[in-house]
């Protein structure tokens, strides 16, 4: 039973996501649309499953939604801060810095989510990852205290991403 389920639905979360995307694309909700979206959501992951054999373990969509709202709020706050920096700080007094974030996360999907979050919040861009994926290189636009930025990334984002992708 479990194996048949996994053969039919290799990525259950993707199936749901595709169904929702299909409904939004159609711009109207009807049972027929939902069923057709579900069928698409089953066929597409099934047909492409040989290219992504690994299913992320223990993904928690509920916590992901809470995390998205936190990140949205941070994006708004950081946007205003960075706009202020762009308009007021001259180039000669700008203090850009490379900072290194040691990663506790091991799953590639979790690291991708964290790196995407860092880039989306203005003022920080994730630039590179170390050879065996245990450190993230982040560029900061303007900071007096690189350690504080690193600690904020670790406490505010990485801890939550770890909860989303915990088994």
């Amino acid at each position: 039973m479990g194996r048949a389920f996994r053969w039919l639905l290799p990525h259950p979360n993707v199936t749901l996501l595709l169904a929702v995307v299909w409904i939004i694309l159609q711009n109207e909700f009807s049972p027929g649309m939902f069923v057709f979206g579900l069928i698409l959501g089953m066929i597409i992951p099934w047909a492409t499953s040989i290219w992504w054999p690994n299913v992320p373990q223990g993904f928690r969509p509920i916590k992901m939604i809470g995390y998205m709202f936190l990140v949205l709020w941070d994006i708004i706050v950081a946007n205003v801060e960075v706009a202020w920096i762009v308009l007021t700080v001259p180039n000669s007094r700008l203090k850009p810095a490379w900072i290194e974030v040691p990663l506790d996360l091991r799953q590639p999907e979790a690291i991708t989510v964290l790196a995407g979050t860092i880039t989306l919040t203005p003022g920080t861009v994730s630039s590179d990852i170390s050879d065996d994926g245990r450190c993230l290189l982040v560029h900061v636009l303007h900071t007096d205290d690189p350690e504080a930025v690193r600690d904020e990334i670790k406490h505010r984002y990485e801890r939550r991403v770890k909860e989303i992708f915990s088994w």
Binding site: V21, I24, L25, N27, I75, I76, N79, V82, A83, V86, L87, N91, L94, P96, W98, E100, P102, A115, G116, I118, T119, L120, P122, G123, V125, S126, S127, D128, I129, S130, D131, D132, R134, C135, L137, H139, L141
Partner: protein, 127 residues
């Protein structure tokens, strides 16, 4: 009727905020002089600027009849793809040494972009 008036003002405010952030992004793109600091400007346009413009579009379609949720999809796809292009731009500027080379890591050998035979530092760099 009053709802429409409130809606029009809300749409106008969203458009203005979005345009203002796009403007600040462009100013940043012109003003900064290093590839990495310049990279920070488009991330701002991509999130707040486009976000507010799309919010105005959603409000418009909700206030004037047919509600549309397509903008949510635009937003989602933008938020998923924008960090990837920014990441690649950063990797290119590290690879080409057009920006300050990052300090070595404390835990591993080196950064993955620097770990390639044709990025060895030194004066004999081919141009």
């Amino acid at each position: 009727m009053t709802l429409e008036i409130i809606g029009i003002y809300a749409i106008a405010v969203c458009l203005l905020i979005g345009a203002a952030f796009a403007m600040v992004g462009v100013i940043g793109l012109i003003k900064f002089n290093d590839p990495m600091t310049r990279l920070h400007a488009p991330t701002k346009v991509g999130t707040m600027g486009i976000g507010m413009l799309l919010l105005a579009s959603v409000l418009h379609s909700v206030v004037f009849g047919d509600g549309s949720m397509h903008e949510l999809l635009i937003m989602a796809f933008l938020f998923v793809t924008a960090p990837i292009s920014a990441h690649f731009l950063a990797k290119v500027s590290i690879h080409n040494r057009t920006t300050e080379t990052p300090p070595p890591t404390s835990r591993d050998g080196t950064w993955s972009t620097l770990n390639s035979p044709d990025t060895t530092p030194g004066p004999d760099k081919p141009d």
